[in-house]
Symmetry: C2
Subunit: 349 residues, 2 copies
Amino acid sequence: MSTLCQPSVLFPQYKITQAQMIEHLEELHGDHPRLPLARRMIQNTEVNTRHLVLPIDELSVHTGLTHRSIVYEREARAMSSQAALEALDSAGLTPQDIRMVIVTSCTGFMMPSLTAHLINDLNMAQSTIQLPIAQLGCVAGAAAINRANDFASLDSRNHVLIVSLEFSSLCYQPDDTKLHAFISSALFGDAVSACVVRADDEAAGFHIKGTRSFFLPNSEHFIRYDVKDTGFHFTLDKAVMNSIKDVAPVMEELNQKVYNQQCAFNDFFVFHTGGRKILDELVNKLELPEDKVAHSRTSLSEAGNIASVVVFDVLRRRFAANTEEGSIGMLAAFGPGFTAEMAVGQWAA
Amino acid sequence: MSTLCQPSVLFPQYKITQAQMIEHLEELHGDHPRLPLARRMIQNTEVNTRHLVLPIDELSVHTGLTHRSIVYEREARAMSSQAALEALDSAGLTPQDIRMVIVTSCTGFMMPSLTAHLINDLNMAQSTIQLPIAQLGCVAGAAAINRANDFASLDSRNHVLIVSLEFSSLCYQPDDTKLHAFISSALFGDAVSACVVRADDEAAGFHIKGTRSFFLPNSEHFIRYDVKDTGFHFTLDKAVMNSIKDVAPVMEELNQKVYNQQCAFNDFFVFHTGGRKILDELVNKLELPEDKVAHSRTSLSEAGNIASVVVFDVLRRRFAANTEEGSIGMLAAFGPGFTAEMAVGQWAA
């Protein structure tokens, strides 16, 4: 038994509307033949605003991986401890109660990992286990939850702190003029979250009753990075849209096993947003009433795809909605591999 | 109960002696004032040979992070499956028996992680859990073992495959003329290993009886990367040498708890090599007979510091030495943070 407690989600100070982003791309690439198509596609993402760690004007000239790595580390250190302290407070625990700290982030690289900074800054125990996850992209938040649940299942004192941190704007490649680069530069946003997985049921939140990992064979090209002199270059194959039809039966199987009912009868969902079409596919393949993915749609609209942070932002909205005691739900995220991680559980108010 | 089975360790085809490396550095930086000091320090490393994924002449001109990332991915894919199949065979398992695949590597970055490649190439189950670890440096091999042991403790079918892969030569920075850059360019080597952690006691090997993680506060600067346009730049603070005095009491504590005896009375050790001085410090602080670290010294001499692969290379030598049934030992590694991971256990022949 483990409990996903109330997360803290922080957004960096700079904000950009999608209209401003289109304007920015038009200024940079006004004569690009596919820009009108990119504009329509960006308008179709249903992203309205995103938060950035630097103003878009500063991001429009690539300052190099050296400089961007310095910004990444500076902002990561500045924002992660605050989020962690808020999450610990919500979970009714102190930093010294934590036995494992997981950090997920695919938009920058630090070694030592940010886990070391958190242990130092929060004065956590010297025996704290560190688990940094950098290569699971958008699925990393849910993967961290499921690995935390595994660890929590070993001992009722195995409380885990998960900090997820994405500064996608520091992977913005202003000189990349491929169509999918335009789209992703307007899809991904920046955010930081922290969430405690308590190894008992002594807190309100999502009580995890079962988890499952899923890998879709021969789909490594669906979502990937090219690692270049200028950092991480994100590429997306539109075939990824077809992957939900393969993962949906696995989601149904997990739900049947734990709750003996179809997903459609669940009370709520904490879904990674991916993009509008991924959510449409989930609604379609799981035959869900549209209102059950409303929090994911709002998160996408207000923050963009914030990668491994998304599930925590959607979970935050679930807490704010005063979810009823005993409601049954599913949490799921998708990412490179193609990989999915899912968990079913019950709400304790 | 989990068992660390016989690992497979593969070395890439190019080999360089320390004399050849010194010659190479003298050709590149002949007029550098600190080169004579670097030469003496390199001779003191007690590294005799190392293996490289490319010939040293090709590495001496930095071809850029874009190119190096392509080489990293090509070689990682080529070598990892073979190592994995050999390790599975030694463990008496098939790829379909594996429930979690962990990949450790701090010398390159791929997303999707190499875990995806392994699941595809070995036709592992779609439910296989992926855990890529990139940011724990030299401690990652032992960290992977301890996390695998946690997972294995949940179910006797939770077998884990760990693939560790380091191509340190692809982080060689020929234009970096700081003294520590000279030393590290002659210390780190390339290698790939695979090892199965069986979730039962039905194989020969190291039966894990207890594990421990350790973090030394305010030591983030001891071992770190600067992430630059040219990739990862390794920096080492000599203060790291003093960290063994802090970790040794924790090693003793774990040993006492599980075996009620001092480390010095253990039959064997599987130590990360770090460098000659780290091994000297371990011998000194744990009051060990010198022959008990002989395998770590030989690994260092024959392969250099192969980062997260070291513990598996030392473990391989422990298997080859026909270790006696019931012998008591400890496995430990050290890395950025400053972080240590240790496990005590008993040998089953």
